[in-house]
Structure formats: structure tokens, C-alpha cells
Symmetry: C2
């Protein structure tokens, strides 16, 4: 019987001092619980998403120093932890000192497992280089090491023998992606089993993605079952970011027995230490199975949003926010979210009307503020907007060569953007400074996809907490907030019924039922296919599915919707091209200057979905399909 | 004798339609010149920096289709070109269809070289994953392919036999990084030579970096000499970007003979086709050497800036710009640069004074406009700033729970930022829209490093063209503009003598010699060590060098400067910590929302230097050094 402590710690990225201090405390706690083995997450010492801080040699030396302190504290139990492993004598492909994403096994003050390996630590075999991951940018893999040595990776990947209660236990030590080998030709878990592993330990630093735990449980259960060996998965909690995109880590550390059964798991989004007693002679099948909560619904979305936003505020040291509230759904959700986190007296809601804002929405904004008990202010922008339009249209533009004077014209469309910028860059930014906080960006993913937000206007803010939610998800979260978070009507029912509108012109008058040009029940799903799908859809695919009558099924939107919205193929194509041009054109320029996005989905804007400002493109086959369809109408 | 045509084409990223059309024209041209062989750059068909467009299968199919058209056009000569190579039956590590960064050899309508390789194309062995490069995110390498096959990479890397004038010539086909193997354990050129290569062709898509061509010529000359075989290097021109960072490609395609001598090169930053007749029996040593211009000076910087800015304007379709001119050096350089590109009548210079702007700088701004012959406007901001301060400080903040009213206070520091945002987000953005163009961001690299610019204020704009230049480089470019671009005093001499100042408060009064808190002759070099060095310096390194008396030598700044600026170690440390905290703290938050940066140096902000918003960190050794130094003073 082996007692294993899963240390689901909060890892603070870039803070080996704080992380190692937390680890030392948890090692004592595990020792107090008579654990034989305590397991920490991948990169527990330095954190995982650090950008190019890996290029600072002094930081690397510091990680080594703190790592030595963990090793020194391993008396009386075995400590497994992730840290950067460094070979100061060799270089990586970039010519810098060679770094590994490494798995350290320490016992009685010594590192274990060096006898069958070139280093006193084990290294990651499979390095993810998709989504937010850049492993090969920083780390040398076991596969490259094998190539250098002229041998096969399987020759290098051997279990580590540790002494537990006088018995030798062969532990297969893997890191995160090593357990997700379906798409790789190399399968670390199988190799380790064949080499005698009696227990697989996967230390991870795996960001939360809606629905990913369900998948992980399927994949890891199957893996444990196939090799008939128990598998321990330890993931960290906390928040890490790559600048443009911010990731929550939900932990959800799990133990699978040799039959693939889940026999224990830590709570999501909470630091925890859990011990489990495994009978390795029975492949760990000595414990009953436990059920695992579903992680795909709106409750999981809200949990991630709340956790991520709270941690982000803590990380940048903000405890007060200003939120521009329009009376619409997005800002209402933002207000309820931040008020729930910070308390209503730390949240200042500001309604910033121009002549185009209806009494309807102004009243809804105030009602929301009262429901939440937040601070509230009304700051009209019309005087400043009028001043700006006057200055721009009445200022002489002097041609310095001939002395001629001309004037510029400010169109109604320009005035729409002037209003949006006036609200954010003039009022909210100033208000936030005076209030001693930051101001939020309330843009959703649908808007961000096509740049339906003004740069330096409603696209501005310190964090875009809702920018990984499609509009229909924002509504679902709003309902969840009323029903399950506050348990009463915080967001007024009328806000749900209101036509979504920016209220920047007479063409967007909500009381007349006029609003956004986006038809969310269709465009949400179209846009999702452009950017969220693993194999991204383009107008070519969309048109082919439209022509085949499969579009709604493919996109997952309501049947019959497309025919209702677009009477002819020409209408359909005009809409498709309009949004595609924006998605790949001006919206990219805007996203480059967007605030950090809190990731929830399997693909968030920013560093997760990388993009160049190259403009829209249409393939040969798209042109052919278009010609066929337009010829036929 | 082989006649080789080097096709230094402009590659338009993401436009296989346009690129392949240009290639077909160039193939005809090469045929007209009786070339035996015509060589196009790496990824000539699709472009190289495309972000995650590689995840669109329809785009991949389109690249294949256009690639087939190039192959079909290869009658009567051999055509070598870069394109994406696809294995639709296999997947990459990310589970998507497997893609290679591939080298295609076509002759008489057929692909050559498939007989010794799993594919009818060759693939890149060494994939860069540093700076702006993400090769392993998208492409499968020869090294991974060899691992899958259970063989060594050298077993796969064989020359391609092509028929030239009835003779078989064995050509070593490599791609870009394959020629930069110093830091890799695998050396493609040596392997190819040992396998019988008589000629090495390196097709590249290699972004311009100040001084890189000089290094490339050293590395490639040595390579050609070592193997005694001529080497052809073909690089594209044009502009490609990764969203946050914009790269120029200077071409500079070069031919090295078997003695390492440079015998021909294309002009930098210009599309060109050059033919060279090589006697392979003499290892190409039948031609005299040519000299290559130096690419490290201010002329090269200006050339890259001008080329990059012009191409970027073309790419996003802007032909008019608005520039806020303060009378200072940065905006003066921006004005001269854009006026040179677009013509002065397409450039509107706007001076936007508040009460803090001196007559000195206002006059200099106007003088600059007149010297350039640009359009000029003066739009005072004081009225709007006063309105903002009034609104913020006189608006009731209502506590909706108890009905209590409070007011906020606007401090002088807040008013500084209000001015900066008023200029950019209120005036320049509106002015640009009305003028029918964009407005520029004139921030330099020193400012961007520590966030000495206001978000949504002077940090805003469609492009930060000067943001990869340290302040001293901005001055050097300004001088170059006067002396070599315009040949007269465009930027007034007084601008050079002016103390750099934001003029946002009485503390920054230029006429009293007051200005920025940055001491550029020292901080430029300190900041460079933080971010531009291959192994980034941190306060630990700086303090160790300071303690050892080596700091100025290490940083490359003026001797004696540090002692003059900082009388005591405490002063030195306070300054160091202040700027480090900003660099790793608030400045990161600002850079996340910064405009695209035009890269010139070996490390630019944005996608080139990746960073997380994790806050500043100080190592154990830093704390020890600090204690030692402060104890000693």
C-alpha cells in the first residue's frame, strides 16, 4: 500500500521564491499525513507561461537554487515535482543554454533516477506547439535528445525506481502532453509500461478549457485501463498568461486505477492536498469509483470566468473597477461578475449617455446598479462629442506650400466612433484613475471576431473578461447569474428582451427595435467555424455546405434559419463576404490592440489564435462555387 | 556551365494566387534568359508568416493547386520553389493534417527527387522556434520524419538529381535555417556534401535584421568554402507580419562559390531577377568576387524603416496619414519619413497644444511642417481637457445602497494622462477618419520598454514605425534624414538641442531645461540589455557588473557615466529597481495593447519578444548583492 499526496497547488508564474515556499509547506503537510510520495505539478517551481523570461540565465539559476531546496526537504518521503532542467554545457536549437521541461524525483535529500538517464531528472517527450503552447521555443525534448544520441526515444524512457516502505516501485514519470499521445507516433505511457512501470505519474500544467476534463478523463481512463496500471494526474490551479491571452488552471487532479476507474479527484479551481492509499499489487483497484462533475455547462463557464477574473485582479493589484453600463446584456454581465468578486462598493458603474441613448436603456442601467448595490454615476458625453465634431470640422487645414486653407467633414459614421472613444478613452479611463482602479472591456467574442467595437473606445479596458464568449453564451451566463449566483433578478428581465444595440445613431434606436447588424443566432455559429474549429472553416467550406444544404447541421445553428435570413444565394454570399472581409481585415488590426482576453473556450483570441494582418483571401474553389451559385439564381 | 536565375520576388503573405502569377511571369523571363535553373524563395507560393491560417484546409488545397500550376510551367528549365508540402494521410503532432515547409524541384512538368524520399518534395530539417518564428507550431520537420521511420535524419537527406544540358547535377536542396546549423547537432550542408551535392541551393524567407546580412555572409561563405561547393541563397523581399510585429524582407540573394567568395548578389529591398553562369566543374570559381554593402549603419536602418512603412501602408490600403507633431524629435522623424513615402500633401501634421506646451515647441512643429511642405493644423486641447477634469470631479458618485453622494479628485498626474488620451483618442483618431487616413504612433523603443507613453494616448496609432529604435537611434535617423534623404535642414536644428519632454506639466517645461525622467545615454543601453540581448540581462547581472566596475563596458555606454549619474549605490539601485518594475510591470500591460511594431533590430517588441503579464522578479542573488552593496555604502 502506497500513500500518495496529490499537491494541487496554486502556481504563481515567474515566482520560484513563492512557489517553492508553498511547496516546502505542503511537503511538511504530506509528511504529517504519513504520505510515502508527494506529487507537485509540472513547472511547479518557475510556473509555465513565462514568455521569454526563459532567456534570462539569472532566472534559470534561481529556479535551480529553489529546486535544490525542495530536494533537500525530501527526507522521509519521496517528492516529485516539475521544474526547468538545465544542461549548462549544452545548447538548445536556439544557441541558448539547453533547457528541459523536467520531472524531478527526490528522496532523502537526493535526486533519483539518474542512473538510466543522461540527467538527474526526466524530461518531457511530447512538446505541444499549438494554441497557447510554445514548448519547442524554450525546451529541448526527449525526442531531440534521442536523435542527438543516435538512439530511439524508447531507449531513453525508463521508469524511475523509488523505495517506498522498503519496496522498490517503478514509477513512469511523464509530463502533461506525454499523456495526450494520440496524435504522436511516440507513445510514452506504452513505452513506460513495457519497461516495467507499476505506476504512472503525470505532472501537468494544463489550462482550463470548457469540456477538456471530460475528454481527459476519457483519454486517461482508457490509457490506465489499456496498460492495467494506475495513473496519477496532478495539475496546478491559478492563473497564467501569455500577454494577449489569460488562462485559468482548474487543477482537477485525478487518480485512475488500473481498470481505468476514477477513484479520487481534487476539487476544481481550488488549491488542495489529497491523499490516496493505493494498493499497487492490485493495480490500485482497492478503492471505489467516484463520480466527476460535468465541466461543459454554463456553471463551468461562470466558475472559470469568476476564478480567472478574480485572480487577474489580484495579479495586477486592482481592487476597484469602473464599468461603463449601457443597459445592454454584456455590461450587465460584467457588472454582476465584478460586483460578485470585489463587492458592490468597489464597483463604480457609469452610464455615459449621448443624445442617442434611450430612456429605456438609461433606466435599465440605473436599475442594474440598484439591484447590485454598486456605486453609480451618470456622465453625459454629448458636450464633449459636440466640441470634438466642432473642432474637427472648423479647424483650418493649412497647405504650407501655397497657404491654402481647407476644412474637413465629419460624417455620422465618424461621429459614432467619436462617441465610443469619448466614453472609454476620455471618460472611463479618467474615471478609473480618479476612482483608483481600472476600467473593464465588455466586448464579447462575436464583436471581437468582426471588429464590431471601436478601437480606443468600447474595445479598450484592462481585461476583456467576456471576450471568449459568443453572444448566446453571454445570455446564458446572464441567466445563470440571476438564477444561481445571486438567486434573484439582478439583471433586469427587460435587458434580455432588448434588441442588442450600440445606440450610436438613429439607425440603432432600441425602442424602434433597431440595433446591431449581427444576427447572433446565425453569426455566432458562422464565426465559431472560422476561428474555433480545430480545422478552421473558410468561405469555401461554408459555400460548399450551403450548396449541399448541410450548412446549419455543420455549424450547429437552428435548422431553417439560413433560408429565412437569406432569400437568395446572392444575399447569403454578400453577408458571408462582408463578415469574412472584416474578420480577416480590420478586425485583425483591432485585435492586435485589444486588451488581454480571458480564455474559456478551446480557442481564444490573442496568443491562442495567432494571426497576421494579411487581409481576406478567397480560394479558387470559392470563386468557382460562387460563380455556380450565382449563375443558378 | 549552368545558368542559374535567382528570383528575388516580392512574396505577398497569404496570397498564393498573386504569388504564383508572379512566379509564372518570372519563369517565362528566366526561360527568355536561357536559364537552366530558376530558384524562388522559401514559401514563395503561400508566404511565410500567416499565423494560424495554416489550420484552414481549404487554404492548403489552394496552395497545392497553385503549386501544380508552377510545376506545369517548368518545361525547358528546372524550377525550384518553396511551398507547403502536405501529407493528407498523416497528421502532425497537433492532430491536424501533416504539413512540411517544403522545397519543390520541377522540370518538364514533373516533380524531381521523389525517388530517394517519401515525398515528391524535400522538407526543412532545422526549424527555428525563436524570435518571430513558430515553425514547429505548423510544420513537421525532417528530424521528426526520421524518428518516425526509425532512421537517422542523415539517411533521409540526399541531393536531388536534375538534368542540366544533358548532365546530371546533384543539388543539395535546403531551406533557410538548414544553413544556420551552428547551434544544432545536425548539419544539413555537410550531410548533403557527403552525399554528393555539387551545388547547394538555400531557399529562404529571412526577415531583415540590422547586421544580419554581414553575419550571413560570414556563415555561408565559410560553409561554401568548407565543403568546396557553390552555394546559392535566394530570399524574398516584401513585408510580412505576425500581428504584433511587422518584418521587412530585404532579399539580398547571394551566390557564393566553392572558395566561399561572394560572386553575385541582388540589391536589397527590391524585387529582382539575376542570372549567374556557374562552372560547376570549377566549383563555381569562374567568376570574380563582388563587394557587399554594409548593412549595419543608420542608412540601413532608414532603408528598412522606409521600405517597411511604405509596404505596410500599401498592405492595409492607407495613402494618407495624420501625425501629431509636438516639436520633439520622434514626431519630427515620423513626419519626415511619411512625407518622403506618401508626398507632403498626403500628410497632415497636427499640433495639439495644452497650456503646458511652450511657444518654442509649437513654433518648431510649424517650422517642421513648412520645411516638409505638409498640411498643417493646430487643434488646442485645453477646452476638452478642462471639460473632462470638470466632469470627473463634479459628477456625483451615488452609493445606490444608502443614497450617499461623493466626488472624485483628479490629480495633476491624472491630468497628464487625460491630455495624452485627449490628443490621440479624441483628436487624432477623429482627424484621421475625417482626413481619410490613419494616425501614427511615434513612440520609440526606450519609451515602450518602460511604458513611458499613455495607453490610448501617445501609445496609440495604426503602426509604431519607430518603436524598434532606441532614442539615440532616433536622433541618428533624424540626422540622416536631414543630411542624406532631403539634403537640407528639414528637422530644425533646435529640435536636436531640445531636452526631450512630454510637456504635460510644469515639471516638464522645456524652456527651463526640464523634461523626461529617462536619461537616454544610460537607460537606452540598460534597457537594451533587458530585452535585446540573446541572453537577457536582469537586475542580478546589472548589479554584479556594477559591483565589479564592469557595467559601462558590458552595456556599451559611455565610460564614467554611471558614477556621474548615481553618486551612491543606493541611488543606482533605486533607479534600477524603478525601471525594472516598470519594464516587467505596467509596461507589459501597455505593450499588450500597443500598435504593431516595425522590426529593425535583433529583437523587437510584440511577437518577437514574448512576454507574460507576471510582474517584476528579483532573484536570490540579486537580493544578496543588493544587501552587500547597501551595507557597504
Amino acid at each position: 500500500m502506497v500513500r500518495i499526496a496529490l499537491s494541487q497547488m496554486e502556481v504563481i508564474p515567474g515566482r520560484p521564491d513563492l512557489n517553492s515556499a508553498a511547496m516546502l509547506t505542503m511537503i511538511d503537510e504530506a509528511r504529517g499525513k504519513q504520505a510515502d510520495l508527494v506529487v507537485f505539478p509540472e513547472m511547479a517551481v518557475p510556473g509555465y507561461l513565462l514568455g521569454d523570461v526563459w532567456e534570462q540565465q539569472s532566472f534559470l539559476r534561481d529556479c535551480e537554487e529553489y529546486g535544490r531546496r525542495i530536494v533537500a526537504a525530501s527526507h522521509g518521503l519521496c517528492v516529485m515535482f516539475g521544474n526547468v532542467g538545465i544542461d549548462w554545457k549544452k545548447c538548445g536549437d536556439d544557441g541558448r543554454v539547453r533547457k528541459y521541461n523536467a520531472f524531478f524525483v527526490a528522496q532523502d535529500g537526493e535526486l533519483r533516477g539518474g542512473e538510466l538517464f543522461p540527467y538527474p531528472f526526466r524530461v518531457k517527450s511530447l512538446q505541444p506547439n499549438y494554441r497557447e503552447f510554445d514548448d519547442s521555443r524554450h525546451f529541448y525534448s526527449l525526442r531531440k535528445l534521442a536523435l542527438d544520441l543516435g538512439i530511439q526515444p524508447a531507449d531513453l524512457l525508463r521508469p524511475v525506481a523509488v523505495n517506498i516502505g522498503g519496496h522498490t516501485v517503478n514509477v513512469g514519470c511523464i509530463l502533461c502532453e506525454d499523456g495526450w499521445s494520440d496524435d504522436y507516433s511516440f507513445k510514452p505511457v506504452t513505452v513506460l509500461k513495457n519497461a516495467g512501470a507499476e505506476l504512472i505519474v503525470n505532472i501537468s500544467s494544463s489550462p482550463f478549457t470548457l469540456g477538456k476534463n471530460n475528454k481527459r478523463n476519457r483519454v486517461f481512463s482508457k490509457q490506465a485501463q489499456e496498460i492495467g496500471t494506475p495513473l496519477i494526474y496532478v495539475n496546478n490551479v491559478g492563473l497564467q498568461n501569455n500577454g494577449k491571452t489569460v488562462y485559468t488552471f482548474d487543477g482537477f487532479s485525478t487518480v485512475y486505477d488500473g481498470s481505468g476507474k476514477i477513484i479520487a479527484h481534487c476539487p476544481p479551481f481550488a488549491a488542495a492536498m489529497m491523499t490516496v492509499d493505493l494498493d499497487l499489487d492490485k493495480s490500485g483497484e482497492n478503492l471505489p469509483s467516484v463520480t466527476v462533475p460535468d465541466d461543459q455547462g454554463t456553471a463551468a463557464i461562470f466558475q472559470a470566468l469568476r476564478y480567472g477574473t478574480e485572480k487577474f485582479l489580484g495579479q495586477i493589484g486592482l481592487d476597484k473597477v469602473v464599468i461603463g453600463v449601457s443597459g445592454g446584456i454584456d455590461s450587465a454581465v460584467a457588472a454582476a461578475l465584478y460586483a460578485d468578486i470585489l463587492g458592490p462598493d468597489k464597483v463604480l458603474l457609469a452610464n455615459l449617455p449621448s443624445v442617442y441613448n434611450s430612456a429605456t436603456t438609461r433606466n435599465l442601467a440605473e436599475e442594474l446598479a440598484k439591484n447590485l448595490g454598486c456605486l453609480y454615476a451618470v456622465i453625459p458625453i454629448q458636450e464633449a462629442v459636440d466640441l470634438t465634431v466642432k473642432q474637427l470640422s472648423r479647424t483650418e487645414i493649412v497647405n504650407t506650400r501655397d497657404g491654402k486653407r481647407t476644412y474637413l467633414t465629419v460624417t455620422p459614421f465618424m461621429t459614432e466612433n467619436i462617441q465610443a472613444r469619448d466614453r472609454s478613452a476620455r471618460v472611463l479611463a479618467g474615471l478609473a484613475a480618479a476612482f483608483g482602479g481600472g476600467f473593464t472591456c465588455n466586448a464579447n467574442k462575436s464583436e471581437l471576431t468582426v471588429g464590431y467595437a471601436t478601437l480606443y473606445g468600447d474595445q479598450a479596458g484592462f481585461l476583456a473578461a467576456l471576450a471568449d464568449l459568443w453572444k448566446h453564451q453571454v445570455y446564458a451566463v446572464a441567466e445563470y447569474i440571476n438564477n444561481s449566483v445571486y438567486g434573484r433578478e439582478i439583471i433586469p428581465a427587460s435587458v434580455f428582451r432588448l434588441v442588442p444595440s450600440a445606440e450610436l445613431s438613429p439607425e440603432q434606436a432600441v425602442d424602434e427595435g433597431k440595433g446591431d447588424p449581427l444576427i447572433y443566432p446565425y453569426h455566432d455559429y458562422l464565426f465559431r467555424s472560422f476561428m474555433e474549429w480545430w480545422n478552421k472553416a473558410t468561405p469555401e467550406d461554408i459555400l460548399a455546405w450551403y450548396a449541399a444544404g448541410e450548412l446549419e447541421t455543420r455549424l450547429g445553428c437552428e435548422a431553417g434559419l439560413v433560408a429565412r435570413l437569406f432569400p437568395t444565394a446572392a444575399d447569403f454570399i454578400a453577408d458571408l463576404e462582408k463578415w469574412w472581409r472584416l474578420y480577416a481585415g480590420m478586425a485583425v488590426a483591432k485585435r492586435i490592440q485589444a486588451p488581454p482576453v480571458l480564455a474559456v473556450s478551446r480557442r481564444a483570441y490573442g496568443f491562442d489564435h495567432r494571426e497576421a494582418q494579411n487581409g481576406p483571401y478567397f480560394t479558387v474553389r470559392y470563386h468557382n462555387l460562387k460563380e455556380m451559385l450565382l449563375g443558378a439564381t
